[in-house]
């Protein structure tokens, strides 16, 4: 099913889709673009390449209370969080969708599934938007991501001559387009423009890298690589394939809540045990963990490197200790060769 809509009519489409549940799409927030729930008058921005933060928080919120409790004498009541409502994610780029599929493997496919994540994922209809022009930090071509296609999406969308062409790829996608009704015109005669989108290509040596790293836990590269790291954790915050979280309680004897929130392997407390022992006591161990997880441990389990070349760590790391620098250092190339 193909449909088309003129760009100036999009706010009407947003309004219609938001009746299904929260509609998340790229919204201009001052200098940055973030996935935000649509509201009347929102300054949407479909022309941006990558939002400052990936949309992973739709499925794994930055913070979520998943349980409340109340105690009255000997009476204890445990109240799990309410059921999640259906949502729509509109305008996600292929790299971010590839990353969501990597999180799916951990959160849904590995037993037992994380029901909080799974319910949100299943209740969300995704409209992927092909990239027209990559931004300077994009390097998804290195990872064989085609920025014009997103295989896992419910609806594929493309900006085309002042219009948006939409094609349903799943039943969920079809239902979404049907919801919009007459707002969408028939697009069956339209073709998606074939686009070869060229991103930066650092010519990274990725073949055999996970295997090669098996014997490089004690490699001298790690002794140098970590030195510039400030331990700020922004790489994990903006990375679409980072998924670690913390669980904390907030409350007292009579009542309170238990919540989880994003956490980062770049922080010292992450692995510090009660009593003070820490298996990763310094930045060297923590930097090594992050890159080893992306480049060796995740691939060992799931058969692919946990990076999609979205470029956010290149854009955000204050000391340029990004994954490209790490891969190049591990590949024996000096940073100057970049």
């Amino acid at each position: 099913m193909k449909k088309i809509i003129a760009r100036e009519k999009l706010p009407e489409l947003w309004k219609s889709l938001s009746e299904l549940g929260p509609l998340f799409l790229p919204v201009q927030e001052g200098p940055v673009v973030l996935f935000q729930p649509w509201q009347e008058g929102a300054e949407t921005n479909l022309d941006t390449t990558n939002t400052a933060v990936p949309p992973k928080d739709l499925f794994l919120p930055r913070e979520e209370t998943y349980m409340q409790y109340r105690c009255k004498g000997k009476e204890l009541e445990v109240i799990p969080a309410e059921e999640v409502k259906p949502a729509v994610l509109f305008g996600v780029h292929p790299c971010d969708l590839y990353a969501v599929e990597m999180l799916d493997k951990v959160y849904m496919e590995q037993d037992p599934p994380d029901e909080l994540y799974k319910k949100r994922r299943e209740n969300t209809t995704i409209v992927a938007l092909s990239c027209a022009s990559p931004d300077p930090f994009c390097f998804c071509n290195d990872f064989d991501v085609n920025p014009a296609e997103a295989p896992g999406t419910d609806v594929m969308a493309q900006l085309k001559n002042g219009s948006v062409l939409l094609e349903a790829k799943t039943d969920k996608g079809k239902a979404l387009l049907e919801q919009a009704g007459d707002l969408l015109e028939d697009g069956s005669g339209e073709e998606f423009a074939r686009r070869e989108v060229k991103t930066a290509d650092f010519n990274l040596k990725l073949d055999g890298l996970p295997e090669d790293l098996k014997n490089r836990f004690e490699d001298p590269v790690w002794d140098e690589l970590f030195k510039s790291c400030l331990g700020c954790g922004v790489c994990t915050y903006v990375c679409p394939t980072c998924y670690c979280f913390d669980v904390e309680d907030f409350g007292h004897e009579a009542g309170g809540e238990r919540f989880r929130c994003w956490d980062s392997c770049m922080y010292g407390h992450f692995t510090e045990m009660a009593g003070g022992h820490n298996p990763r006591p310094g930045r060297k161990e923590r930097v090594r963990q992050r890159f080893m997880h992306k480049l060796r441990y995740y691939p060992e389990t799931f058969g692919q490197i946990a990076c999609v070349g979205c470029g956010r760590c290149l854009r955000s790391c204050p000391v340029n200790l990004d994954i490209v620098q790490a891969i190049q250092a591990l590949g024996g190339e000096t940073v100057e060769q970049r």
Partner: protein, 282 residues
């Protein structure tokens, strides 16, 4: 089980009995708890080596090894060393109080695979807590195993856990219990010396034997060395790891060591596997 679909929701259990195993700043207190919900109680099943997330609402949860064998009855036992925020709150619990429990988590000691073999446990201090379920399991299924030898040591006699249970063990033919403490004490009738040395002195044959060791890292290191000296192959040796954990189901990332999550792929590891895991002994 009357399951919550959300795996992070714990079940209320009532503390039935508590007692102190040891004293001091890092005292160990044992809790015998029973799930409040009958369905949860009936359907719960665990194997030696598995853990549970136990906690106090408003404070948090900690991953603690289940220190009883399923053969002992429809209750759970946890022996908890006072270490931090959550264990301090747990230590406040007295009979009648609520403990929140979810699990069981992790793999287990492959007790079925070990049938017909001699079982040798080598423990130190609180490390006996995950070994105790094996001891109890083998005791309850003596016809299925070719005997059990238990070596257990601590700094002083006051630091030994489960003291009341050893005397009965030494009366059984197929069970041998060897206790040791680091320094000589008055009225101490057992061995004096470190656990790894006692292992060498006892000189157990590796033939048809499985060795399982838990305890302080330094003890484990020397026990592994000495087991090798005695001729044990890597795949005859098992140990458990402990890392900081939050979720218990291999999602939150905290206990990641190599491509393993200790909460899901462990805590029990065969030494042949463990040797290949980066950070396993960090």
């Amino acid at each position: 089980m009357k399951t919550n679909t959300n795996p992070y929701i714990p079940y209320p259990a009532t503390v039935e009995e508590t007692w102190y195993e040891t004293g001091g700043d890092r005292c160990i207190k044992t809790f015998k708890v029973v799930f409040d919900d009958e369905e949860v109680r009936e359907e719960w099943s665990h194997l030696p080596g598995q853990c549970a997330m136990i906690g106090v609402l408003g404070v948090g949860e900690s991953m603690i090894s289940i220190s009883c064998s399923p053969t002992e009855g429809k209750f759970l036992r946890f022996s908890v060393m006072l270490m931090g925020k959550v264990t301090r709150a747990l230590h406040q619990l007295e009979p009648g109080d609520k403990m929140m429990v979810r699990g069981p988590y992790g793999n287990s000691f492959p007790v079925d695979e070990w049938q017909g073999k001699k079982i040798l446990t080598i423990g130190g201090g609180i490390g006996q807590a995950p070994l105790r379920p094996i001891v109890e399991y083998v005791k309850a299924n003596q016809d299925k195993y070719d005997g059990l030898t238990m070596i257990y040591g601590a700094r002083t006699s006051n630091d030994l856990c489960f003291k009341g249970e050893f005397e009965e063990m030494s009366k059984c033919d197929d069970l041998a219990c060897h206790l040791t403490i680091d320094v000589e004490e008055e009225d101490w009738e057992h061995n004096v010396g470190f656990v790894p040395q006692m292992l060498l002195d006892l000189n157990p044959s590796p033939e048809n034997t499985i060795a399982i060791t838990c305890g302080p890292p330094i003890m484990i290191r020397f026990v592994l060395e000495n087991l090798k000296k005695l001729g044990f192959e890597d795949d005859q040796i098992y140990t458990t790891l402990e890392n900081r954990m939050k979720c218990g189901i291999g999602k939150c990332g905290r206990c990641n060591a190599g491509n393993m999550y200790v909460c899901k792929d462990g805590p029990v590891f065969n030494y042949a596997v463990l040797k290949e895991i980066p950070e396993a002994f960090a």
